[in-house]
Structure formats: structure tokens, C-alpha cells
């Protein structure tokens, strides 16, 4: 133990602790709880039964009262540990509760009803994961449909983004033509035009081209990302022009140069853009909310919000589906976090 402490507290120059070190570690430890805590709490809560969710104070781990099938009863009965009048502890199953009196039976002797004051009994509980929170909404509600819509939107939008953005970036980085700087300026300028500023006219444009209430209406307006063009162009500028000349001498057409030379060489930048695009499109909310009206077209984000907005909020399903919604992003985070952080630090892009 002391070795661990020594390891953790070792500092440059071996000097002692001062207040900044204490503050650093307090901040970092608190950071773990504040940053990870809510997500962990969400995951733990998502495995709780509705009854456990309604409990206050809540338990950390998902708990469920043990149940047992008792002869003569159709439904499983909940098990309680009861302090008997003679002072002994006994495990009984509860048949029903009337006021403060619970009618209970011994599972081994199901014929005899014992009446117990509810203050005398505590539920027999163990850790139990209510996986039905996940299974039911995916099977019975439309969540599987939403999931499919979200995957479709994310995958298609990302492929189109990579393709169109890289083509434009190629033209803007490797060709000289009149108006090139103008086009570049236009693209960079619209970096500052957020969706909320053009929400109303964009809606009417999407309607006019017949894409209202379709997944393509969600996809197309998002794919010509100025950030993507900008990022790819900056990267392609570092590919030497001599390579293109060499390919031209090698009988390559301009199109072949694009897909045999430029695309493979821009793979690192394409990967960064792909990661960003996946996260962006998966997380999109306002635009799908505006453009989708039929329920069966909802993406996960819109569907979740709709369920969370209902009068009778079914938290056990919503929490579970929130976890499902979070999974791809967490996977991206776990495996690709280094690239993303490097990308942001390098370009200030999000």
C-alpha cells in the first residue's frame, strides 16, 4: 500500500507536497466522478426495474426483490425476511398486502397464511439486471426502427460526406482555376452559419425538392460540411504536386489520380473526418426533429426525446434506450479518442 502511495505521490525533484499538488489531485479525482459518474449512473439505473427506479433512497446497484413460485398461486411471489413474534427470522412469500398487514405464506407450506405487520418484514434482495428494459422497447416499441434509421442516416451521410468533401478538397488544393479563392472563401465563411440561422428557409427548400419527411432530407443538407472540405484541403496541400505529375506521366487520368493517389494518401485525414461525421450525424437532433414527421422515420435522438416528452414517462425504457444511443459514441471514444483529441488540438474543429 505504501508503495502505491509513494508511486502516486512521486514528484519531479522529489520535493514534498504543496497545496497545488493537493488541489490537482482533488480536481482530478472529482473530475472522474463528475465526468464519468453521470454516465455510470445512467447505465446502472438502466438495469433497474420500475419499482427500483421509484425507490428513494436509490441503491447503487440494480436490485430486485427475490421471487419464488409457490404452489397454488399463478404469479411468482416476492420473498421477504420476517421477524417472527417468537424472535426468529423466517423467509416468507408475500401473497398480498392490505394496509399495514401483509398476508404471507411459507413457500414450503403454502396452505397456511401468516399475517405480518409490514414493519416486521424486509425484502429479500439481490443484484439483478432488468434486461427486459432493453429487450421490450427494441421488440415492441419502435426503437429498433429508430436504431435502423439512425444507422442508415449516419452511414450514408458519412460516405457522401467523405466522397463529396474529398473531391471538392482535391479540386481546391491541386488545381489552379479562376475563382478558386472565391470558392474557398465562401466555404470558410459559411463555417459560421449554424443550422438555427437557416432553419426556416432550409425547411422550405427541403420541402420544395420533395425531401420533407424522408431520411434523405435529414442526410443531404448535412453532407456538404465546410469543416470537412477545409480539413481535407489542408491535408491534401501537404501531398507533393510531383506525385501527381508522376501519375500523369504514368498515363493516369485525373479521376485515377484522385482515387488511386490522393484518396489513399489522405487516409489519415479521411479517417478523422469519418470519425467526426459519425459522431455528428449520430448525435444530430434539431434538424431531424424539424424534417421528420412520421414516427417510423424518427432517428434515435428524436425518438428518445419524444418518449421522454410523454406525460407518463417510462424511465426504465428511456434510460435503457439512452444507453443504446450512447454505445456507438462510447465505442468511438474508447478506440479512437486519441485521434479525435489530436484532431481537435491540431485544427480547433468540432
Amino acid at each position: 500500500m505504501s508503495r502505491v502511495a509513494e508511486f502516486l505521490t512521486r514528484r519531479r525533484g522529489g520535493s514534498g507536497w504543496d497545496w497545488t499538488d493537493i488541489f490537482t489531485w482533488v480536481w482530478l479525482i472529482a473530475g472522474i466522478f463528475v465526468m464519468f459518474g453521470p454516465a455510470v449512473w445512467l447505465v446502472l439505473s438502466s438495469f433497474k426495474t420500475p419499482a427500483a427506479l421509484a425507490e428513494f433512497p436509490p441503491t447503487v446497484l440494480p436490485m430486485a426483490t427475490e421471487q419464488v413460485m409457490v404452489e397454488g398461486y399463478d404469479n411468482p411471489l416476492e420473498l421477504y425476511s420476517v421477524s417472527m413474534p417468537d424472535g426468529s427470522e423466517q423467509v416468507l412469500a408475500q401473497v398480498r398486502r392490505v394496509g399495514t398487514i401483509a398476508q404471507m405464506v411459507d413457500p414450503d407450506a403454502p396452505d397456511e397464511i401468516v399475517k405480518v405487520n409490514i414493519a416486521e418484514r424486509t425484502p429479500q434482495r439481490r443484484v439483478a439486471f432488468a434486461t427486459e428494459n432493453y429487450v421490450v422497447p427494441l421488440e415492441q416499441n419502435d426503437f429498433l426502427l429508430y436504431l435502423r434509421n439512425s444507422v442508415f442516416v449516419t452511414v450514408m451521410a458519412t460516405i457522401i460526406t467523405l466522397l463529396t468533401n474529398s473531391m471538392a478538397a482535391f479540386a481546391l488544393s491541386k488545381y489552379r482555376f479562376r475563382g478558386r479563392d472565391g470558392v474557398m472563401l465562401l466555404i470558410v465563411a459559411t463555417l459560421m452559419v449554424p443550422l438555427s440561422v437557416i432553419l426556416v428557409p432550409l425547411y422550405s427548400v427541403v420541402n420544395a425538392v420533395g425531401l420533407f419527411d424522408s431520411l434523405w432530407g435529414v442526410i443531404l443538407p448535412t453532407v456538404a460540411t465546410p469543416t470537412g472540405v477545409f480539413l481535407l484541403r489542408q491535408y491534401m496541400l501537404t501531398i507533393p504536386d510531383e506525385l501527381l505529375d508522376a501519375a500523369r506521366m504514368d498515363h493516369a487520368s485525373e479521376w485515377q489520380i484522385y482515387w488511386r493517389i490522393i484518396l489513399p494518401l489522405a487516409a489519415p485525414a479521411l479517417a478523422v473526418l469519418a470519425i467526426f461525421s459519425i459522431v455528428w450525424r449520430w448525435n444530430d437532433f434539431l434538424w431531424p426533429l424539424v424534417v421528420l414527421s412520421r414516427k417510423e422515420l424518427y432517428t434515435l435522438q428524436v425518438g428518445l426525446n419524444t418518449y421522454a416528452g410523454e406525460l407518463n414517462v417510462q424511465w426504465h425504457y428511456i434510460l435503457a434506450m439512452t444507453v443504446v444511443t450512447m454505445i456507438p459514441v462510447v465505442l468511438v471514444f474508447v478506440f479512437l479518442q486519441r485521434y479525435i483529441t489530436a484532431g481537435i488540438a491540431g485544427s480547433g474543429l468540432k
Binding site: L42, P58, A171, Y175, P201, A224, W255, T341
Partner: protein, 339 residues
């Protein structure tokens, strides 16, 4: 090496559907290149992106102005009647600009006031928290990569997920109240209290985005040459003085970027606040984007013209902020040249 192979593998997978298409396209494109030369090819490469960009970004940007000068509920511009500046006049029709209740469009002014308040509080909190975190992550701590990831984690979460997580935690019988109860503090009904719901939207959005700004600041801190600190140490400079006289001035460009980016984003606050509070209770967390959304789409008496006018006002605010950013950037460049 490992980074290269992984990223190129991802590239290969993503390129797979492209390859088939690419082979197919080569012949017609060779013909096109023969007809038009490389200039025609540049046009070809630009065309898809610029077509989408033109239809879905530039065109809406332009017709937004026309839209804001029409009235009625009709969707297409041709069916709408021209009213000139009436929508703007309606937004600006106020007895006293400091008191939204005297305004004709009181919701707009409430949203504007809420947004302004949100921007000021959120950006200052964000900057301070991100700054402290970046300074700490820049120290010689073990496992810096891990800690950086800890603070970055929420950045990737969707606003809806963020909103729902916190709605769950902040509810009456939620985790926060449980903790407060256990340490002997008074629980609150966070999301149905006018003041606390505002605080919640600020806190949650800081929680969700601080990792991003921390990264930018950290990159700036790490770009400050080590020997400057060593020289200061040789001179016996106190830690506080080192921060104010070395770290802060050299970090200024990054800090300005952070502040302006945070400002621009804060003005647009919508998703997580909308999911968290729905703008309520009452109008205490109604922000500009939600106002535009509700006037344009959600309310029974929707008025796209009014929403367009409001969005243009919001756009103007963003343009001003962007110009400030560009101006500051230029000043920094000049300062850099002088050095």
C-alpha cells in the same frame, strides 16, 4: 507506426464501396477530361459538393431574407405575401426594451434576455473551468492521456443523451438530491424551479463541452517552450507571477479562440437545454433557437416569417462575434510579427 496502419485500414474499409464506383466512372471521365481538359475536371470534382452546398446552405441563406419579409403560414415563398419590414417591426415593438412584458413579442425578448444571461454565465464558467483543468493536465501528472480522456468524454455524447442523463439525475428523487440529503444539505426540485433550472442548463452545457475547450487550451499550454519556465525558475520567479507574466500572455491567442468559440456556440444553445427543461418552467430557460423553432414549426399559430426575422437577428449577433474573432486573430498575428 501503429497509428498509421490503423488509420489507413479505416481508410481502406471506407474506400471499399468507392473503388467499385471509381472503376466504373473512369471511362466516361476520361472522355470528359479529353473534352474539357483539367479545368473541366476541376469543375467535375467541385460539382457534387458545391451543388449540395448551394442548395442546402447558400440558397436558404439568401431566401431567409425574403422569407423574413413575408407573412402567413404558407410554406413556399411564392404563396406568401410581402409585408416589408413588418416582422422586424413586430419583433422590435416594445414599450420598454428592458422589460419584455411590455413587448408585443414578449417571448422573443424573454428568449433574448435568457440567452444573453446564459451566454455571459456559461462562457465565463466554461473558460475558468477549462482553464483550471488545462493547467492541471499540463502539470507533470501520471497518466495524462487518461485524465485528458476523462474530461473529454462528455464532448462526444449527443445532446439528447446529455439532457436525459441529467434529467434523470436532477429529478426530485434523483441522484443529486440523494447525495445532498446524505451530506446533510437541502434537496431541491431542480428542474421545476425558475432559478435552478437556469443554473442546470448552464451547468449541464459546461459539463458537456468543457473537454473540448480544455483540449484547445492544453494544446496552447504545451506549445509554450519549456525553457521559458526553466529560465523563470532560474530567476526565482514565484509561481503566481509565472502564470500571470508568462503563461497567460503566451496562451492569449488560444484563450481568445476559446472564448469566442464558446460565445458563438452559447448563443445557439438549444438541444441539451430543450431536452433537459423544454424551456421551462414557464419561460425561464427559453433560449433563442428554441424560440425560432417553436415560432417556425412547433406552435399552433406558427409564423415562419417571424421565425426567419428572428433567425436573421441571431445571425447578425453571430456575425458580429465572428468579426470580433477575426479582428482579434489579426491583432494577434500582428503582435506575433512584432515579436
Amino acid at each position: 507506426m501503429a497509428t498509421r496502419s490503423i488509420s489507413s485500414r479505416i481508410g481502406a474499409v471506407l474506400a471499399a464501396p468507392v473503388i467499385w464506383l471509381a472503376r466504373l466512372l473512369n471511362l466516361p471521365l476520361k472522355w470528359w477530361q479529353g473534352m474539357t481538359g483539367t479545368g473541366g475536371m476541376a469543375a467535375f470534382f467541385l460539382a457534387p459538393n458545391m451543388a449540395i452546398f448551394g442548395i442546402f446552405v447558400l440558397l436558404p441563406l439568401v431566401i431567409n431574407f425574403a422569407y423574413s419579409m413575408t407573412s402567413g403560414q404558407a410554406l413556399f415563398l411564392s404563396d406568401r405575401s410581402y409585408v416589408g419590414g413588418e416582422q422586424y417591426a413586430r419583433l422590435m415593438d416594445c414599450g420598454n426594451y428592458l422589460d419584455p412584458t411590455t413587448c408585443r413579442e414578449d417571448l422573443f425578448w424573454i428568449a433574448l434576455r435568457n440567452t444573453a444571461l446564459f451566454v455571459v454565465v456559461q462562457v465565463s464558467m466554461m473558460t475558468v473551468v477549462a482553464m483550471i483543468t488545462a493547467l492541471i493536465l499540463n502539470r507533470e501528472i501520471r497518466g495524462r492521456g487518461f485524465w485528458r480522456a476523462v474530461f473529454f468524454f462528455p464532448v462526444l455524447l449527443s445532446p439528447v443523451v446529455v439532457g436525459l442523463i441529467w434529467r434523470w439525475i436532477l429529478q426530485r428523487e434523483g441522484l443529486l438530491n440523494f447525495i445532498l440529503y446524505n451530506v446533510g444539505l437541502e434537496p431541491h426540485v431542480w428542474l421545476t424551479d425558475r432559478f435552478y433550472s437556469f443554473v442546470a442548463t448552464v451547468g449541464v452545457s459546461v459539463w458537456a463541452h468543457m473537454g473540448f475547450y480544455t483540449l484547445i487550451l492544453l494544446a496552447g499550454l504545451q506549445a509554450i517552450p519549456r525553457d521559458l519556465y526553466e529560465a523563470a525558475e532560474m530567476d526565482g520567479t514565484r509561481a503566481g507571477r509565472v502564470f500571470w507574466r508568462i503563461t497567460l500572455p503566451l496562451l492569449m491567442p488560444n484563450l481568445l479562440v476559446v472564448i469566442v468559440l464558446a460565445l458563438i456556440r452559447a448563443v445557439q444553445i438549444f438541444d441539451e437545454a430543450y431536452v433537459l427543461t423544454g424551456g421551462g418552467p414557464g419561460t425561464s430557460t427559453l433560449y433563442l433557437t428554441q424560440y425560432i423553432y417553436e415560432v417556425g414549426f412547433a406552435s399552433l399559430l406558427r409564423n415562419p416569417g417571424l421565425a426567419a426575422a428572428a433567425s436573421i437577428i441571431m445571425g447578425l449577433i453571430l456575425v458580429v462575434l465572428t468579426l470580433i474573432q477575426l479582428g482579434l486573430g489579426r491583432r494577434n498575428e500582428k503582435a506575433g510579427e512584432r515579436k
